[in-house]
Structures are given as structure tokens and as C-alpha cells.
């Protein structure tokens, strides 16, 4: 009697466990799950292959087929791939880059996934995944932008991390008086200037204004845009940036910082590895969040986010959604973003990160101190053609600030043509 009770109790518990896990999974997944990924560089490729393998091991009834496409080639192939015989999961980017495929009805609306409680941990990028009031994908990694600076040079001249624009300008003046440029930058390939615009514009006018401008809802000749450029010009007129920056790539601008001719660099976190390779130690190198310009607006941060999406023509929608739950879970995001994997930041706020001071600062900043919103970077937030014309204008402004009126008119003409 006793043993029967025990057995049936065990059976009951087992049934309960099965029932609850079945409820989570819906039902056992079967069929094929076709994934096309653009994670073609060696380390990301290994991560993606690992993801597919682990997911397959979790769902023995499911056949996971992974195709990896060259990252650059994918940018032109995606439309074709989504149109005819689409896979179940694809890689892409957040924010406005999703727009063409959302408008064409090629991405599936996955707002129901985002309504699940587990997705609250991804709140920092919810805005970037939202278009037309619905969510169209999930993030798996991002990295912070901010000011990387030479702590030893700051200490030498008695400077501290600036928290507002006045301190920023004062710091810069001190450095210039001592023959050190405040910022290194290489604008040969234009995009680095986009980072500066993102920050000065969002600090001056706020995230909502910046995104409205990106969506073509505000004129480039608007006074608020002019205010952004006026703030930027303060730095340019001081001579804060290194000379001839239009002839350097971002990597070619690194020596100025490593050799101490410039004190800081507004850049993405990928710059840290290069600076360490150049011989800078963690004692010499530090990071601060771009300072406040207008105290009335909240911090918005550039954190380009890479994402997974489900094509609307996916054959195995259940498995695809389960895969998205899998890649957004705290454990998986911790694992794939570790130093052995992507070496970037997990988006899930419950994930943990490697013991690295820059990752720690970035994770804290993006999770707790980016109340304004997460920007995806100039060339991802703005429509592609607008971004290309825009970044040319930004570079021209940095070299010939007096051309501002011409530049703004040109950008405004482009905006009117593109966002008809």
C-alpha cells in the first residue's frame, strides 16, 4: 500500500513535470527548422553552429538545418531569400533596417512572443525591435558606444571624466593647451562621423527627436538640428579633433591615441581589443558615457543590435518561435556573448558578462542608464540612401564647418526626395 502510494505520487509528480514542460513548449517540435545566418566570420560562425547544434540536441524530433551566408553578401541576398521558399529563421539588424521587409510583409509579426514575461528582460531594445507598434524580431547581441580615453593623460593634467558639456569643453581646452588633441577620429569611410552626430543630436534634442529625424519626419534645416551642429562646431573650432582625419580609416586613427597625441576616441567597444593590442593597459585606458548636453533629455545610447527574425513565409513557425525563445534566454545570451564567443554584450538584462571592465561598464550603462532609448547607429537608423548622403555631409561639415548651410540644404533635398 505504502509503496503503491509512493509510486503513484512519483507518477503524479512526473506527469506534472511533463505537463508543465509540455505547456512551455506547446508540443514536441518536429519537422525541419531551416536557419540562414550571416554570422560568417570565424568566431561568430562557431557560435552560430553551436547554437544550432544545442537547439537540435534539445529537440530530438527536430531536424535543424543551418546555412551560413557571407555577412556582406547576405545584405543583398536577404530579399531574395525571404521571397522565394523562405527559411524559418534569418539574421538581420534592428530598427530602420527592418523597415523594407516589414513594409513588404516579409517578416512575421512576433508581438505575441514579446508579450511573454521572459521578454521583459529584453526591454532595453524593445523600442529598436518595434515598427508600426509591433515587434518583428529578437536581439541576440549588441555592444556599447562611448568615449574611450587615456586615463594616464587625464591624470597627468588633473582632469576627470566630464559629466556635462561645460566640463567636456573645459577638459578639451586643457588638453589642447598642453598640445594634446582631445579626440582622434578617422572619417575616411564616413561612418565614424555618424557616431558623433548620433550623440550630439540625441544629447541636444533627445532620442525621440533623433529618431523622428531618422524617419524623415523633421526637416534638416530645422533650428533644433542647427543647434546640434552649433554644439558640434564648438569642438571643431577649438581644434579638438586630429588634423586630416578625412584621410584615415578608424584603425589608422588609433595610433594617435596609442602614442598619446590624442586623448580620447568616441567609438564602439570593438576598439578596446585593438587598443590593448597596441600596448595600452587597462590602467591607461578607461571609458565614460557621452556627457549631458541638454539636462532636459535622457541618455540615449548607440548600441548596434544584431537580431533574429522569422520570415512570414516560414514553414515551421512553432520551431522558429521556440528558437527565438532559446537565443534570448539569459543562459544562452551569457554563453554566446562571452569572450570565447562573440565577446560582446548580452541584451538580456539577467544574463551575466565576462570579467572585463569595459563590458561591465557598457552592460551597466545600457541596462540601467539609457533611459532615452537605444539608437542603432546613423547608418542603421536612417534610410540607407539618406544615411549615405548624410554621412558625406557630416564629414564635409567636420572639415569645412562654414559649408553648413549648403550641407543642410542638400540633406533636406535628399530627405524630401526619399521620404515622399
Amino acid at each position: 500500500m505504502h509503496s503503491i502510494l509512493k509510486t503513484s505520487l512519483a507518477a503524479l509528480v512526473a506527469a506534472g513535470v511533463t505537463a508543465s514542460s509540455a505547456a512551455a513548449d506547446g508540443h514536441a517540435l518536429s519537422g525541419e527548422l531551416n536557419i540562414i545566418s550571416d554570422m560568417s566570420n570565424p568566431a561568430p560562425r562557431a557560435v552560430m553552429e553551436g547554437l544550432a547544434e544545442d537547439f537540435g540536441a534539445l529537440h530530438p524530433g527536430l531536424e535543424v538545418n543551418l546555412t551560413i551566408v557571407d555577412r556582406e553578401a547576405w545584405k543583398t541576398q536577404i530579399r531574395n531569400a525571404l521571397g522565394a521558399n523562405p527559411p524559418d529563421v534569418v539574421n538581420w539588424y534592428a530598427a530602420n533596417r527592418m523597415r523594407p521587409y516589414v513594409d513588404a510583409g516579409l517578416f512575421a509579426d512576433i508581438s505575441d512572443l514579446w508579450a511573454e514575461p521572459e521578454f521583459e528582460a529584453l526591454a532595453s531594445t524593445k523600442g529598436a525591435m518595434t515598427l508600426d507598434g509591433a515587434q518583428w524580431g529578437v536581439p541576440y547581441t549588441y555592444y556599447q558606444w562611448g568615449v574611450y580615453y587615456r586615463k594616464d593623460i587625464f591624470d597627468q593634467y588633473g582632469l576627470s571624466e566630464p559629466s556635462n558639456w561645460e566640463e567636456e569643453l573645459a577638459n578639451c581646452q586643457t588638453l589642447l593647451d598642453n598640445g594634446v588633441k582631445c579626440y582622434t577620429i578617422g572619417t575616411k569611410f564616413l561612418w565614424t562621423a555618424g557616431g558623433w552626430f548620433d550623440y550630439i543630436n540625441s544629447r541636444t534634442n533627445g532620442y525621440d527627436f533623433h529618431i523622428a529625424l531618422a524617419r524623415g519626419e523633421v526637416e534638416w534645416t530645422d533650428d533644433r538640428v542647427r543647434q546640434t551642429f552649433a554644439n558640434w562646431r564648438q569642438l571643431i573650432d577649438m581644434g579638438a579633433f586630429i588634423d586630416d582625419h578625412q584621410t584615415y580609416s578608424w584603425q589608422e586613427a588609433l595610433p594617435f591615441m596609442v602614442n598619446g597625441e590624442a586623448a580620447s576616441y568616441l567609438m564602439g567597444n570593438f576598439a578596446v581589443a585593438a587598443m590593448r593590442d597596441g600596448g595600452l593597459t587597462d590602467d591607461q585606458l578607461d571609458f565614460y558615457q557621452f556627457p549631458v548636453i541638454n539636462p532636459d533629455v535622457d541618455f540615449a545610447e548607440d548600441a548596434p543590435t544584431d537580431t533574429f527574425h522569422i520570415p512570414s513565409g516560414a514553414q515551421n513557425m512553432d520551431a522558429a518561435k521556440e528558437f527565438l525563445r532559446f537565443v534570448t534566454s539569459a543562459e544562452v545570451q551569457t554563453e554566446i556573448n562571452s569572450g570565447a564567443g562573440l565577446g560582446q554584450l548580452p541584451v538580456n538584462a539577467n544574463a551575466s558578462i565576462d570579467d572585463d571592465k569595459f563590458l561591465a561598464q557598457g552592460f551597466d550603462m545600457l541596462s540601467n542608464n539609457a533611459g532615452g532609448g537605444i539608437m542603432q547607429f546613423f547608418d542603421r537608423d536612417f534610410e540607407a540612401e539618406m544615411a549615405s548622403v548624410g554621412m558625406e555631409g557630416l564629414q564635409e561639415f567636420m572639415v569645412f564647418p562654414d559649408n553648413l548651410d549648403d550641407i543642410l540644404e542638400r540633406l533636406e533635398e535628399t530627405r524630401q526626395r526619399i521620404y515622399q
Binding site: 570565424p42 553578401a73 588609433l254 602614442n259
Partner: protein
């Protein structure tokens, strides 16, 4: 028309020539010297802005070690080999036969066919990019070594046939007539009479085509992607990561990729020059 031989010029001119020549040589080789220099530098030198100076530490073993043991370079090199050698064999074999037919037999349209082969050489290959890509996709040969080999054979056969036909034309025809009088089958004449005489042309052409195909970048990029099929010229960009270009590894990889054709040139120099001037002098 010909420049005066150096020995007959004035002493000053001889001296200035001897001084200028090495300088010009260095200027001309500067990009190559930079690549070679970079291939033995540590990555830190690039971040520090030490582009032309002496390497801060000698990292040749590290860089070349990474190229050979921690990247897909060996695979790309094998791909290059598996693309180049079949192409050389295929193009040379086909053009020998076509050249024999065009050079020995008189038939209607002989000249027309020959001109078509020549005309094909004048088509700028870039305009074939889209149709050839579509064709390989439709034949399921996209991103395969076979697809690349087939295209190269087809495209190189035009030039090779021109070369072979003219060479066979220059052979003494009585040799073939004599063989015919003996009642030897035509294919045996090709195999035992003409082919042995063509050895210098075969060697020259094989060396030329080997370097052409090994150094091809355009079709490698158009028709293949990824380490399964790409030859080394295209695969070398793999050293670029998402954010950073690894110039030291790319330089080391370039040197490695350039070695086979350079070695080929020095080993087969005689044939190479023969190939370029063959038929030019009667």
C-alpha cells in the same frame, strides 16, 4: 628605333643609369616590400602607426603560423590547386586538339572558326559576369570548384587554341604528309608525330595558364563564396573580421598565396619567356 646599347653610351650616362636602376627598382617594388615587411610585424605595429619602420618584434613565425594552422588558408590553397591544375590540363588538352584540327585540316569554315576563337579573346570578361553567374546558378554549379574549373576551361581555351593553332601551323607539314604516306591513322599522327613536337608550346602554355588561373580574383569572387570552393586569392579577405582588418595576417597570407606562381616562374623561366615570344620570331 632600338635604344642605343648601354655600352656605347657616354660614361656619365652609364653611371647615372647604374644609380637610377636600383632606385627605380625599389620604388617599383615598394608596395611589395611593404607587404613583406608587414607580414613579419606584430599587430601592435599597425595600431602604433609603425607602418614603414623596422618591426618592433620579429613575428614572422607567429603570423605565418597563424596563416597555416589557425585559419582556412590551407584549405584555400588546396582549392586553388584543385581549380588551377584541372583547368590547365583541360584547357591545354582541348586547345591542342582544336589547334591540330584548325592547323592541319583544310575545310570550309576553318578560318571562320579560327576567327571566332580569336574574337572571343576580345570580349571584355566583365560583361559576362551576370550571365555566367546566372548560368552557374541554374546548372547548380554555383559555389563549387567544378563550376569555376568549367568556366575557366571554356574561357581559356580561346586563347590557347589561337596559340596552339599558330604553333602547329609553323611545324614542317611534310612530317605529317610523310606519316600519312605510311598509312598511319590521323589520331596516331596527332599523338605520335605532332604532340611530341609541341612540347615547348605545351610547357609554355601550361605555365602561362597556371599563373593566369592561380591569380584570378574576379571569377573567384563572382562564382564562389566560403572556404568550400573559394581559391586563395578570394579567401585571403577572411582575415578581415567584422570590425577590424588584420593587415599583418593578410600580408602573410598574400605572400604565401603569391609563392606558387612566383616559384613557377623561376623554375620554368625558360618556358615562360618562350611562351611570350613563341611565334613572334620567324
Amino acid at each position: 628605333m632600338f635604344p642605343t646599347p648601354l655600352a656605347k653610351t657616354s660614361r656619365q650616362w652609364q653611371i647615372s643609369y647604374q644609380v637610377l636602376l636600383p632606385i627605380m627598382l625599389i620604388v617599383w617594388l615598394l608596395p611589395l616590400i611593404a607587404v613583406a615587411n608587414f607580414s613579419i610585424k606584430p599587430e601592435a605595429d599597425f595600431v602604433n602607426g609603425n607602418y614603414w619602420g623596422i618591426p618592433s618584434s620579429f613575428s614572422a613565425f607567429e603570423n605565418y603560423g597563424k596563416v597555416f594552422f589557425e585559419s582556412n588558408m590551407p584549405r584555400y590553397l588546396w582549392n586553388s590547386l584543385f581549380i588551377t591544375i584541372p583547368t590547365v590540363i583541360g584547357a591545354v588538352a582541348l586547345s591542342c586538339m582544336a589547334g591540330f584540327a584548325l592547323g592541319v585540316y583544310k575545310f570550309k569554315g576553318n578560318l571562320l572558326i579560327f576567327f571566332i576563337f580569336i574574337a572571343g579573346n576580345f570580349v571584355p570578361f566583365q560583361i559576362l559576369m551576370v550571365p555566367v553567374r546566372d548560368l552557374t546558378v541554374n546548372l547548380n554549379l554555383y559555389d563549387t570548384k567544378t563550376g569555376l574549373v568549367l568556366f575557366h576551361i571554356a574561357f581559356q581555351t580561346g586563347f590557347c587554341t589561337l596559340f596552339m593553332r599558330n604553333f602547329i601551323r609553323a611545324l614542317p607539314f611534310p612530317l605529317i604528309e610523310a606519316a600519312r604516306v605510311e598509312g598511319i591513322a590521323e589520331w596516331k599522327i596527332f599523338l605520335y608525330v605532332v604532340l611530341p613536337l609541341m612540347k615547348p608550346a605545351l610547357a609554355a602554355l601550361a605555365v602561362l595558364i597556371f599563373t593566369f588561373i592561380w591569380n584570378d580574383y574576379f571569377w573567384a569572387v563572382v562564382l564562389t563564396q566560403g572556404p568550400d570552393a573559394q581559391p586563395v586569392t578570394a579567401g585571403i579577405t577572411e582575415f578581415n573580421s567584422q570590425f577590424r582588418a588584420a593587415y599583418h595576417l593578410m600580408s602573410a597570407g598574400s605572400i604565401v598565396a603569391a609563392l606558387p606562381p612566383v616559384a613557377m616562374f623561376f623554375l620554368m623561366q625558360k618556358h615562360f619567356i618562350a611562351g611570350l615570344t613563341l611565334g613572334a620570331v620567324k
